[in-house]
């Protein structure tokens, strides 16, 4: 009976390797996202710890949904790091929406660092029950 050799993997944040340079000196991460679908809406949940609702920007242009969240680095100003396992950074991610989504009724709420986006589907695309006469 041998113990499995588990390789130690550090679950880190996925840093975005961007070809474009930023004007603000800050790392940018891609937040972990869950995308789920019900019959009438698409649900997107994103983990963005350290971001509150004043620092979230959700932009929809053409069919691209772009989400970006800023963290507040001011409070770390006079802290001296002794031991760190993770880096701080802003978050950004974009998605391309299909035509099924009704772009005028997107709801966004953020709580405890988790952003929840509810994208309703266009009424014609929702499944209809057809009554048999």
């Amino acid at each position: 009976m041998t113990a499995e050799n588990k390789e130690m993997t550090v679950e880190g944040k996925k840093e975005i390797q961007s070809k474009k340079e930023q004007t603000i000196p800050c790392k940018v991460y891609s937040p972990l996202t869950d995308i789920m679908e019900t019959q009438k809406e698409l649900l997107i949940l994103m983990d963005m710890p350290g971001v509150n609702k004043d620092q979230i920007k959700v932009k929809l242009e053409k069919n691209i949904l772009e989400i970006s969240g800023q963290i507040n680095t001011a409070k770390y100003g006079d802290y001296k790091p002794i031991y760190t396992e993770y880096n701080l950074g802003n978050y950004t991610r974009s998605f391309e929406l299909s035509n099924e989504i009704d772009q005028s009724t997107i709801e966004a709420t953020i709580e405890d660092g988790v952003l929840k986006l509810i994208l309703s589907k266009v009424p014609e695309k929702q499944p209809k029950l057809i009554k048999v006469g």
Partner: protein
């Protein structure tokens, strides 16, 4: 007969799992950190106090437990993600967490003077050094 064999192995495996996870969580306080790196913790120093910061998005205060003893800091909690049965999942990157991690601090802290805040998914704990642990200067006659 096979039923009995399975039971014996299950018992042994579950004991082994429990010991391994206790070792991973560094319950015995041997290293600065256990092998399990959930959740990632940053330790800062401000004046003579320690600030411990960790990212725990979506974690409710009730599911978080913090214990302090001398220079050991233990944090445990869990977050379970759930969705309705009628929901179909297209992408799942966020994980449930169930963690129990003990960390060794550079000095002993006073458990009565600890302030912990969980805001926007970030846990910030301010720890003050125990009075008995501060070095005292000795004057030579």
């Amino acid at each position: 007969m096979f039923g009995n064999l399975t039971n014996a192995f299950e018992r042994l495996l579950s004991i082994q799992d429990a010991v391994e996870s206790a070792r991973d969580a560094n319950y015995f306080g041997l290293d600065t950190t256990g092998f399990g790196v959930t959740p990632p913790i940053d330790l800062f120093k401000k004046d003579d106090n320690l600030i411990l910061v960790s990212e725990l998005p979506g974690l409710a205060k009730e599911d978080l437990k913090i214990e302090i003893k001398d220079n050991l800091f233990r944090i445990s909690g869990e977050r379970k993600l759930s969705h309705d049965k009628e929901t179909s999942v297209h992408r799942k990157e966020r994980k449930d967490y169930n963690f129990d991690r003990t960390m060794k601090l550079p000095f002993k802290v006073d458990p009565d003077k600890v302030e912990a805040k969980l805001e926007d998914g970030v846990l910030t704990v301010e720890l003050t050094r125990a009075e008995t642990d501060k070095p005292r200067q000795v004057f030579v006659n």
